[in-house]
Symmetry: C2
Subunit: 443 residues, 2 copies
């Protein structure tokens, strides 16, 4: 079993809360839930919003069929089962479009509807946004570290099989050139890339010949099937011999060689010299093997043409979840907030804008009550961040990945100079949360 129906991708307590609210007569109060991150993980300077499109899509499939209801009858009363049988999210969502950068407190998503229809979406909403934003946030750092060289996501084997598909999408959204994952191509149009592994070379082992013959047999088979524009993996045995065999078999027009182990910088230089000396001046060098944003940055000065990145990108490079929460902020027009230690939230339905200098450099994230937009200070330009995403349960935004990719790229160029630093530090810009001013506010 690799997948379960969306409506069961839910914590049990969402349904026990629903049951209690139905019984108590509070289930149909109008509510707003807000998704935000209290902090960025691990000294990060920014986060990248991702997953919103997957959420809007899965909303359409969030239904409880009779088999599911039979099982839920173990702990849900008949009123709750009746409610779930007819469930369809008919509310609205506003928030940051995919690819928009976010900071601590940014209202990445606001979900509006009855308590009943909003509460059951909590777990799934957070699962999607936390996973996809974690991967996109790590991937964006790698993209900026690579300074224009293409990155290939190849970490499917290092994460849950279905998470791999979403991870490939999130990495692509953040600027990766493509992914090894075939399902991501099918589901999301992410270009699928990749050619061969060490196993293919080893497959050509026989009792009769020596390793050079085995490796050349493997290369010949690959070139015969995939053409000379393929990428040959040259480090199964000896790299220098591997490169010589690659060019002997593929000719100087060979597409690329891949190095997957060892000191990648040293090897890239050595392989570049060797390729050039063999006349293969156009043959590219692909490196892979435990690369993260720091490893990518460390190879900037080396003759590397593209990077394959696995574990680090799909696991968020040390921050496998974005840590976003889904908090009730408004009930029947009354701002509400938790007041216990350490976990305070800010009540009221909010929107956000990013303020920038005339030069375009961002200076501040401003989060304000939805009907109280603040004045933009003189000399600054305010860009609204909150857009309509879902109306009456239907997606209304432009969710295309190409647009989201452009948004990430633009967002990164707007950061102040230290916002792209890979070292740990404060968020690239501060977040200012404007409290509600109205008299009716209950605090």
């Amino acid at each position: 079993m690799t997948s379960s129906p969306p409506a069961l991708l839910t914590d049990k307590y969402e349904l026990t809360m629903l049951a209690a609210a139905l019984r108590g007569g509070t289930a149909h109060r109008r509510t707003t839930f807000e998704v935000f991150a209290r902090r960025l993980p691990d000294g990060r300077r920014y986060g990248v919003t991702a997953g919103t499109a997957r959420l809007a899509d899965v909303l359409q499939q969030f239904r409880f069929d009779s088999g599911m209801l039979d099982e839920l009858a173990a702990f849900c009363d008949q009123d709750t089962l009746n409610y779930l049988a007819d469930y369809r999210f008919a509310g609205d969502m506003d928030g940051y479009p995919e690819g928009e950068l976010y900071f601590p407190g940014s209202p990445v998503l606001s979900v509006h509807g009855t308590f009943a229809e909003c509460v059951v979406l909590e777990t799934l909403t957070l699962s999607i946004l936390n996973h996809d934003s974690a991967v996109a946030s790590a991937a964006a750092r790698m993209v900026s570290a690579a300074e224009g060289r293409p990155l290939i996501e190849m970490g499917s084997r290092r994460t849950h099989e279905q998470a791999a598909v979403a991870a490939a999408r999130a990495a692509y959204l953040a600027g990766f050139a493509g992914s090894s994952n075939l399902a991501a191509q099918r589901s999301h149009g992410v270009p699928a890339l990749g050619t061969s592994a060490h196993a293919f070379t080893l497959l050509h082992t026989t009792t009769r010949q020596d390793r050079s013959d085995w490796e050349k047999a493997a290369f010949r088979a690959q070139v015969a099937a995939l053409g000379t524009d393929t990428t040959l993996l040259v480090d199964t045995y000896d790299i220098t011999a591997g490169v010589a065999h690659a060019i002997e078999v593929g000719g100087p027009q060979l597409g690329a060689v891949r190095i997957d182990s060892g000191d990648l910088g040293v090897l890239a230089r050595q392989v570049r010299r060797q390729l050039d000396s063999l006349g293969a001046t156009g043959t590219r060098i692909v490196v892979s093997g435990d690369l993260d944003e720091f490893g990518i940055a460390a190879l900037r000065a080396e003759p590397v043409d593209s990077y394959g990145v696995g574990t680090s990108v799909v696991t968020g490079s040390g921050a496998p979840t974005a840590g976003m929460v889904y908090k009730l902020v408004e009930v029947d027009g009354i701002p509400v907030e938790k007041r216990s230690t350490h976990k305070q939230s800010h009540g009221g339905r909010k929107q956000a804008a990013r303020l920038a200098k005339a030069s375009g450099t961002a200076v501040e994230e401003v989060v304000f009550p939805v009907d109280e937009p603040p004045q933009t200070p003189a000399g600054l330009i305010g860009r609204p961040l909150t857009v309509p995403l879902v109306r009456n349960g239907e997606p209304v935004a432009d969710f295309t990945l190409a647009v989201a990719r452009e948004r990430v790229a633009r967002g990164l160029t707007e950061l102040p100079w230290n916002g792209l630093s890979l070292s740990k530090g404060d968020p690239a810009i501060p977040t200012r949360i404007v409290p509600p001013a109205r008299a009716g506010t209950v605090r």
Copy 2:
């Protein structure tokens, strides 16, 4: 879209290798691929094998339908498409049963069949085993840190929505009492647990009353729907008032209170005293909020009855992937191995046994060529670790979770005393890899 068909949960290069092997005439060589971890993550003392049952199950669904083949035609030739159209894994798998501990080099899984039928399973096999083993390995440390107190997995919202289901299963396999995830109950029989969140209390905010009334209204609604054996969340506003309200509403027979923020040890002691003073001596205390194995251990001396664990367990507590690899080790009876820098593998089809003293304490993991079992040293007891898992593509092992749970518990009791240490260090026992002795070996 929350899920894709199993056969596309695959790296593109598995299929380009297949195409090249079909064309080169090597696709039908008999092969063995071995899954193992070169090292344990992050100073861990042991790993817990998990995911094997999910893999055996998904094998039955690993098929390419005509829609998928149409898409693959973009880069696969007709021979490859014909092969995939008829694909069904008809080989064998041997390996460690779920719940068995593993160490660096342990042959956790061996996959036997033609190159073609084995190579296409690489990505999916690793995705499942790496994810599930990472979660189970972290969870087992938490279980041993909790020293018998129940743990509830509630991290669904902190990981990909489908990964959450597998994570709940893996945590349960390792000894957790249950999970918040409803799909894990449906798919895997993991007990679903959980009652309410802060949003439920905040839902009872009105303009007319004060917070005490709001909180009591929420508690009354929950108790009315779920009975007095429920768990009331007492830290939305003031914890002391929350506990008083909880007992006022639920009576001294209230099931439990949950504390989700603040200094959990201090608060647990204070809440225990308060509950006892109110006569609620049987009311349990559940704590949650950013707990990991270290946080759990730190609460050993406190009056905590159970722990809710989220982010840390579903993300492997710092090690979100087990880092296992899938390596070709034998072709047509010839052991093969990669020989490049840093990533050497050990050729040949292998099995493993764990050696223990007469007292039952494990002393060594021995990995040996499949037809050359070594002598067990005098005074030690050898327990075979490798069992048949799949024959002709069909599951043959006992994959029940209850058995796997017992296996984890037994494995942990067999470790030497420092094997349960939470601090970073060497693997609890060393792995000895016995090389093949036969003359026919190509090295």
